[in-house]
Symmetry: C2
């Protein structure tokens, strides 16, 4: 049997803490038995509840932590209060100490990112980390980053994001040469902000290995799945992500209203119920739960704070996939290749 994937969980994170984390982890064990969990949090709370999940209990080690981080604590506050002793910090530290391959938390994004940066540090050659989202499209799934780790990004940082996203696409979606687009407000070379235009020129000139630069893409290209990886700075990326979520909910609301309005519509709904259920599953935001922190010396996955066990399970499965496919190794290789390429180019000139 191959080596187990070790996943550390911040058992106290999110709106519901253990009540979502434990059943979520248990669901994943059903599908991927090859996991060992490290559960960080209040042992008095975790252990009694673990009795209800014998399979999970079997596959887990509980690590008691006195402190847990609230959903509205500021990053700086959380760091002061929780460094070295909170369930959030210790779940990340387990990755740093190679006790776990990957960490998952449903805790607050700001605190989780601050602790991840402080504990894991950015990879050599990367200035700022990014949060990558997996985005369902008409063609399958794409990766969009950054969706909110940092505001603003210069051209070099956008290129870093392209490399990070490219490595993630190779790791998660198994594409050998992922296509990468820069999010802009027009596809012509003259359009958009300076940083994006410069990044476009650099990507065209440098052509980093293991990815294909496809030029600028616009907002509607994300849902179409025009490229495998969409690169943007965090402010616009976060607004795009949330706007898409809002639009999906809006459409679902319209559909519900339309289907309950007349008797004929209700009868139609009964016949097509299977189709509606497939549609609902397809649009289910829980399925693509999990923001991936990229650019650090270790992988941390942020689950939605308000998700349920099914949603948390999706985030854990994503963590499992990325650990299994050696995301960090792929990123390091791509970065090394890229910097080697730049270096030799500089020597030639």
């Amino acid at each position: 049997m191959s080596e187990k994937i070790r996943i550390s969980l911040d058992a106290m994170g999110g709106d519901y803490g253990v009540e979502v984390v434990l059943p979520g982890a248990d669901l994943v064990l059903q599908r991927c038995p090859n996991i060992e969990f490290l559960l960080f949090g209040d042992a008095k709370v975790i252990e009694p509840m673990l009795e209800e999940y014998p399979r999970l209990k079997q596959a887990s080690v509980v690590h008691h932590c006195d402190v847990s981080i609230g959903m509205d604590e500021k990053p700086s506050q959380a760091l002061r209060k929780g460094r070295g002793k909170s369930s959030m910090w210790n779940s990340i530290a387990a990755v740093k100490n190679s006790e776990a391959h990957v960490a998952v938390s449903a805790g607050n994004t700001g605190a989780l990112m601050a602790m991840s940066k402080f504990c894991l540090r950015t990879m050599s050659g990367i200035e700022r980390p990014a949060i990558a989202a997996i985005w369902p499209t008409l063609r399958g799934e794409s990766i969009v980053l950054d969706v909110g780790a940092t505001i603003g990004a210069d051209a070099q940082q956008l290129i870093d994001f392209a490399i990070l996203g490219g490595a993630m696409a190779r790791s998660v979606h198994g594409v050998s040469q992922p296509t990468v687009g820069l999010l802009n407000i027009g596809v012509e070379e003259v359009k958009g902000v300076e940083e994006v235009r410069t990044a476009g020129k650099m990507l065209r000139d440098l052509s980093p290995p293991n990815l294909v630069y496809s030029g600028f893409v616009e907002g509607d290209d994300i849902g179409k799945g025009t490229v495998d990886v969409v690169v943007t700075e965090g402010f616009a990326g976060n607004i795009a992500l949330k706007t898409a979520e809002g639009t999906a909910k809006q459409f679902a609301g319209y559909l519900r209203a339309a289907m309950s309005r007349t008797l004929m519509a209700k009868i139609g709904y009964l016949f097509a119920r299977g189709a509606f259920e497939r549609l609902r599953a397809k649009m289910d935001p829980r399925k693509v739960n999990g923001g991936v922190f990229l650019g650090l010396n270790g992988i941390v996955i942020k689950s939605h704070g308000g998700t349920d066990a099914e949603g948390f399970a999706a985030a854990v499965e994503l963590a499992y996939d990325m650990a299994k496919n050696e995301l960090i190794k792929k990123i390091s290789d791509d970065l090394a290749n890229y910097h080697r390429g730049r270096f030799s180019e500089a020597e030639e000139n």
Copy 2:
């Protein structure tokens, strides 16, 4: 009978020119007979086609122009080539010369904005114009601006957008005290870019008349209809708009696929066809066609370049509504009130 609303049309604009402009205008005349059209473009093309629309012919005056602006011409190029003689320029100039109340063009956005700025100039107290979009929401419709006129905006420009959008909401949606939110990546006061935070503080302190500042909103608030007016700079605004369009198309694609997959689904579709048609009408992007150029001494409406007659008609109806409801007067009043308020406040200090 009340005075007619005079609308100038760039008959050559858009992917299809007169073939969409004339039937579109004719559709509007059916619903609002109280319009006089000024048709700018190649008389040799317009006049023979006008014979097919006797009602429109009756209500129109053709103004021949030698030049028309292509869909891919750069703004500076278009200005050089078309100033004073193109159908686009002359339709705008008709607003400047008070021959028309409002102008509509399906021509290219960059050229149309450049000519509008050059010909009409920004209103006193407004530094940069904005493009406002009418956005369908779960609660009705909201106004989102800027969706791409300019990239980046400082705090004062965001406040100008709030006043412009507020006046438009009063004019188009008839709300006496529209609520206004600033688009951000979190609702807490500490979040987001400097300009947005400063604008938030200023809006709270100054509380411009005729609008209610509701604080920060996130991307998913747009579709919910949390506020009447969403204010953002043009890069993020354009990406939000296009992303929402992409998501709507994506959802429609999923729905179509789900409904044609099994026999039961197909039967269900037949029963619920009325409901699906209502849904399609609700999601129809043509219905909300029309970007409104705000902040200039006159109103110009940009129709999608690729729309059909029904879509162009929606843009013309929007123009009609705004002329009838005296949008420009409302904006001037709001700006005067706002600046008077700031001035007396400065005196008090």
